[in-house]
């Protein structure tokens, strides 16, 4: 019965595989939480300002930077993504143009984040002369997140049953009215869920923002054109400069799941 023995063997192998993967990954996750948790929950840490040379200190400006960046970036990418999703799901026909757009989206999706960072540097920081600021980072991240956000948004719209569109049009609504008053509102829950992944991406992204937003600041950024230091970038910067206190868990915190 080699068939049955092979099946048993295979099952065992796969169980070992599965367990190994879980153990390794679980270990990583637990370690990260365990090591950072105490520091992360210290109020001085969360609300204090960072020490410039000594290292350590608080990360409040960084947290503010990150939140600010998330908000700005979403304000930029949501309308564009919804618009593009509307085009792809309601208007586009299968053809070369649509295929080409998807090719561009795939390319954007695989591009290394540091390429986005350098691009943002070249275009927003230098060419537009915005200098290191939140806006530069927000725009860069908006382009970076476009494929991700678009995928979720488009899916949400495709899930809206055709029968709603038919009902609306049979009542004498134009296509745009139908989209605006029936399709998009129906897809809203799905669209909101679709923003979770991009938000996670923005919070964790370092390579794309260190060249666009900034690395170290002492004060809270207020104006979108202020320099800022989002958490992930700061973590890398602090580590490279060899400073103490790590804030892993604070970065681990705002993660979806």
């Amino acid at each position: 019965m080699t068939g049955r023995r092979a099946d048993k063997a295979a099952s065992t192998v796969f169980w070992i595989l599965g367990i190994t993967v879980v153990v390794i990954l679980g270990f990583i996750i637990i370690e990260i939480f365990a090591r950072g948790l105490l520091t992360a929950l210290n109020p001085k840490f969360i609300f204090g300002k960072p020490e410039a040379i000594k290292g350590g200190g608080g990360v409040f400006p960084m947290i503010v930077s990150t939140l600010y960046l998330v908000a700005l970036s979403l304000i930029i990418s949501l309308p564009i993504s919804i618009g593009a999703a509307i085009y792809l799901s309601e208007y586009a026909k299968k053809g070369r143009v649509t295929g080409f757009i998807r090719f561009c989206l795939d390319t954007l999706a695989t591009l290394p984040s540091i390429v986005f960072g350098l691009f943002g540097l070249a275009l927003f920081v230098v060419y537009f002369q915005w200098s290191y600021c939140l806006m530069a980072g927000a725009f860069t991240l908006a382009i970076l997140n476009l494929p991700i956000l678009l995928r979720g948004t488009e899916q949400a719209m495709n899930l809206v049953p055709d029968t709603y569109r038919e009902a609306s049009m049979s009542l004498g609504a134009s296509k745009w009215t139908t989209i605006r008053q029936v399709v998009v509102p129906s897809a809203m829950p799905g669209i909101i869920t679709a923003t979770i992944l991009p938000i996670g991406r923005i919070v964790g992204e370092s390579a794309a923002i260190i060249y666009t937003t900034g690395l170290f600041i002492r004060n809270i950024p207020v104006n979108p054109f202020d320099t800022a230091a989002p958490l992930a970038g700061y973590v890398w910067y602090a580590q490279t400069e060899g400073q103490g206190d790590y804030l892993r868990v604070v970065t681990a915190g705002p993660r979806c799941c």
Partner: protein, 288 residues
């Protein structure tokens, strides 16, 4: 009867939406244009052969050959895939076929969680745990290509696993049922029917995992040692295209800076190459 001309409004709306969709095209174009523009000084001053095909990287004396780093990228990625591909596909098979539903869900959760961890966090973790571990086991510094490859395994695993699981799920249930009805064991059904059916999807999953690995910057930079020679030895430090950029960009100016942009250009070309490969594979499937 009122004649409402709504046709015009619809056409205008379609145009606006199309513009939104073409942000994708405009984005890619701008990225290519600006990266190219910034690399131009290096390309013209150093010349394409010396820039892309030389391993001589001594910026202080005007030598900007990036081949060592291109090799570093390829090497670490290949090593990582050798480990991550079977692991990822195996995990996918496990989740989709072998594990009971609750266990499968649990494993999927863990992997999703991992996917959300920022690069710097994984990098730091590797720094304080993986590097000392390698050091104690091998006697080397701990920094180097091995550490880098292992980090890449961790970072690309979620991508490979998730996409592979999706491909397996897309195989019609009828195929598996037909196989079972002929008396095949579960493993035989998986091995002979499901995996071959999902083959294109699995290959694409691995390619996208490669894309992830190629583009990974921070985590790798923390553990790779950042040396500028090409090395095929796992225990020696080295650099990849991405880590070199992030390592040197801070102090670079002029042609040096431009050479780093040229490396970004190289990365851009690699990504496009991957996407084209995926398209070709998908097209082949349609004709098959």
């Amino acid at each position: 009867m009122r004649a409402i001309v709504t046709g015009d409004r619809d056409r205008w709306v379609k145009l606006v939406m199309f513009c939104c969709a073409s942000v994708s095209f405009v984005g890619v174009l701008l990225i290519f244009l600006f990266i190219f523009r910034e690399s131009l000084p290096a390309i013209t001053k150093v010349g394409i052969p010396k820039l892309f095909l030389s391993t001589d990287w001594r910026p202080k004396s005007g030598h900007y050959g990036m081949l060592a780093f291109t090799f570093g990228t390829v090497f670490t990625t290949v090593v990582a895939m050798v480990i991550a591909a079977p692991l990822g596909i195996g995990a996918a098979v496990f989740i989709d076929q072998i594990a009971p539903e609750k266990v499968g869900k649990g494993v999927r959760r863990v992997i999703e969680l991992l996917a959300g961890i920022p690069s710097v966090v994984i990098g730091w973790f590797a720094l304080i745990l993986l590097v000392p571990f390698i050091r104690s086991v091998t006697g080397s510094s701990g920094f180097g290509m091995l550490a880098a490859s292992l980090v890449l395994v961790v970072m690309s695993l979620p991508t490979i696993t998730t996409l592979s699981a999706e491909s397996l799920r897309a195989v019609p249930v009828e195929l598996k049922e037909a196989s079972a009805a002929m008396g095949a064991t579960r493993w035989q059904s998986i091995y002979k029917i499901m995996i071959p059916s999902a083959r294109e999807g699995l290959i694409i999953a691995v390619i996208l995992g490669m894309g992830r690995a190629i583009g990974e910057t921070m985590a790798v930079q923390m553990v790779i040692g950042n040396a500028s020679q090409a090395t095929a030895s796992l225990l020696q430090p080295g650099s990849t295209l991405t880590t070199r950029i992030v390592q040197d960009m801070g102090e670079a100016s002029g042609v040096f800076r431009s050479a780093l942009f040229a490396q970004a250009l190289m990365l851009l070309l690699l990504s496009v190459f991957l996407i084209i490969s995926i398209r070709l594979i998908s097209r082949e499937r349609k004709h098959a």
